[in-house]
Each structure stands twice: as C-alpha cells, then as structure tokens.
Symmetry: C2
Subunit: 237 residues, 2 copies
C-alpha cells in the first residue's frame, strides 16, 4: 500500500509541521546553493553589465530565501538548523557536472535549478496552504531562470555549434539532476510523503483514480518540465 493510499480521498492531506519544515529547509538550502552558483557565474561574466545583473539576481535569491526561513520560524522550526540535513546535497552533482565554459555554467544553473525548483514545487502540493504559498512565491516569481532563458536562447540561435554542445550538456545535466532527486526521495521520507500527498491531491482533482508510484511519477513530471524548458531555449531536450 503506497503512502498516497493512506490519505483520505476527500480531503487534501496535510503534512505535519516537521515535514513542512523539512521541505522548507530543502528550498532554503537550494536557494543558498543557487546564490553561490549565480554569484560565481557573475564573477566570471563576460561583461560588467552581466556581472552586475547576475550579482543582483543572486542577491534577490537570498532575499526570497529569507521569507522561506521566516515561515520555518512560524512553524516552530529553527531557521539556522533546517538546512543542516541537506548540507552537501549537491556536492556529487557539482563534481560530476563541472562546466568547461561560462555558457555551460549558465545552462547548468538553468537546468539544475529548474529541476530542483520543480521538485520542490511538486512536494509543496502536500503542504499547508500558507507554506505552499511561500514556496510557490519563492520559486516562481522573477527567477534567474526566467531572466536568463532569453540570453541563452539568443546565444544558441546565433551559434549552431554552441547550440548543439549545450543541447548535449543539457541532457547530461538533467540526468545527473534526476539522480539527486532519486537520492532525496529515497533518503528523506518526509519529502516522499509530501510528494505522495501532492500526487494524491492531483489525481483526486483529475479523477484519475489511484495515484501512481511516487518516483516514476516525479521523474515523468520533471522530465516533461525539462523538455519544455529546453524548448524555450530552442535546444533539443
């Protein structure tokens, strides 16, 4: 019997506060990691204007993280400790996907953060309404990905060799990113519970009957989102 089947079919399952704090901790950690990556990309940007723009995006990301940590506090969690469980989560991913050019670094941010954000948004469907709003707002409003998509798309359109290299790099990145998601689902039962609750709510809303197995459902959703994201860049997924 899957976790999802434990949930009542008639109500939105509500994760307890500890589960919510765990997801908020993952969101906060992801934003901290993105901050560091964006700031690093900024330092190596080809022009001063791009350096300024990327630095500002990085700083804005940390402002959004602040609001997530405020919600952790509201739920009785510890804003300083809620990220601890995830410390080092992306180390292996980073070691396996070292960009060899600035563009590869920018695409890495776009793909890696895209997958991470999409995963957190799926899990957020199992949260209480207020926490869900905080996560959705933090991960969807004026994100660096949205700002940088046109920049990557323009560069790829102007340079077919770059486009084909980036398409290949994108496939490598999404494979590694899904690997991290698999690890998180396997090692963090609270997050698997939230995702299952979210699937259940979604299946219920669509009257699709029983919810599918968590991991395969998550991977298919994340892969579909990834394809849409690469489409926006004009790159083959």
């Amino acid at each position: 019997m899957s976790d999802a089947e434990h949930a009542s079919p008639l109500t939105l399952p509500t994760a307890d506060h500890a589960d919510a704090v765990e997801l908020l901790g993952l969101v906060a950690y992801t934003e901290l990691a993105s901050f560091g990556r964006l700031a690093g990309d900024a330092a190596h940007a080809p022009t001063l204007r791009q350096r300024q723009a990327l630095s500002r995006l990085a700083a804005a990301m940390l402002d959004r993280q602040e609001r997530v940590l405020v919600r952790v506090d509201e739920l009785g969690g510890d804003p300083a400790d809620c990220m601890t469980a995830f410390d080092g989560l992306f180390d292996d991913f980073d070691a396996r996907t070292r960009p060899s050019t600035w563009w590869e670094g920018i695409l890495k941010g776009y793909v890696g953060q895209g997958v991470a954000d999409d995963f957190c948004l799926l899990a957020a469907q199992g949260l209480d309404e207020r926490s869900r709003d905080v996560v959705v707002e933090a991960l969807t409003q004026d994100t660096p990905s949205q700002r940088y998509a046109p920049v990557i798309a323009d560069a790829a359109a102007a340079d077919p060799v770059l486009a084909s290299r980036l398409a290949l790099w994108g496939r490598r990145l999404v494979g590694e990113a899904l690997g991290v998601v698999g690890v998180v689902l396997a090692q963090r039962p609270a997050l698997a519970r939230l995702v299952a609750a979210g699937i259940d709510a979604t299946a219920e809303a669509a009257s699709n009957g029983p919810a599918p197995a968590t991991q395969s459902w998550v991977f298919s959703r994340l892969t579909a989102e990834h394809s849409r994201r690469m489409d926006r860049l004009g790159l083959a997924a």
Copy 2:
C-alpha cells in the same frame, strides 16, 4: 601649486557632478567586487552557518550598492555605466594576493575592503552633502568587516601560529592595497581632486594651514586606519 591651494580657504570646495559620479562609481564597483569576494568566501566557509551568514552579508552589500546607484541617477549619471572606468581595477591586486587558506581569504576581505572603503570615505569629504551621506552610510553601516573582526580575532587568539601568519599576510595585503590607491590617484584626476578638496576642508577645520601633498597624506591616513584595524584583531600591523 597643489590642487588643494586652488580651493577657497573659507568654503567647502564642492566637486562638480561628474567628479561625484566618478567617486560613486568607484564605491559601487568596490561593493560589486566585495560582493563577489564575500560570496566566494561563503561558498568555501567551513560550516553551513558561516556560509549562510557570509552569503547574507554579501547580499546586503549589493543592497547598499543599489542606494549608491540611485544617487548616481539623481546626479544625472548612468548607473549602468558609472562603474565601467573601474572595470578590472582589482585584477592585479587579486592576482598578487591569492589566499592559500580560507582565513587568508577572510583577512584579505577585511584588509582590502578596509583600505578601499577608507579611501572612498576620504574622497567623499570633497562631495556635496547628500552624496557624502550616501557614501558614508553605504561604507560604514554594519559592514562585513565589523561583523567578521571578532571571528578573526577569536581564531587568532586561539592559535598563535595562525596569528603570526595572518599578521604577515596583513602586511603584504596592505602594501598591495596601497599600490592600487596610488594607481587610482595617478589615473583618475577627479578622485584626486575630491581627496584634495577633502584634505583642504579638514586642514581648514583644524586650522593647520596649507594642506599636505595628496598622496602622502592619503597613505598616512590609510596606514593609520590599517594599524587600528589590525589592532582590533590582535594582530601586529
């Protein structure tokens, strides 16, 4: 006849807007550079808590930079272009002072940013009142240096070998930093004018007679501030 002697002894010389925009551009560029350095230090911080704290300090630095750029706009300057003249200003300094440990990186920020901020504060004395207030507020309120001084001081107090290495490193850093200041004074007449105007105002206020030569006065002030800064760390200057 020095620049300072051109100024009326009875009024605070007021730099024109172009000179003010140039100094504000230097302050903004310095804050952008400090943002990148702090974010890089954050990424390599020994603990997640330090990583979070340093990242937040870096983001706050860019918020302060925003207010400096607003003032550039008020003066009719271009916030996007005002930093261009300084692009690459610290490249040589950075190449000559690559930290070999995380502590050396932290002290580099403390010393290098300290000298840069002190120079900008000296030059700011030649600005109009509103611009001067913006610079002073940006460079003196809750700076990373203030926050990190106790951390470095504690580590140095606990480890005499570290303390003696950092003292040596600090002397190397201040020498290289003063070299950058010399380049700026020689190559940016607007900034030399502002400093001279500031010296004149200071000499006038102290009734010390004619102002001394700009560069030697600047170096003696910056060296004195550096000594005080190292004292706060318990390190020999």
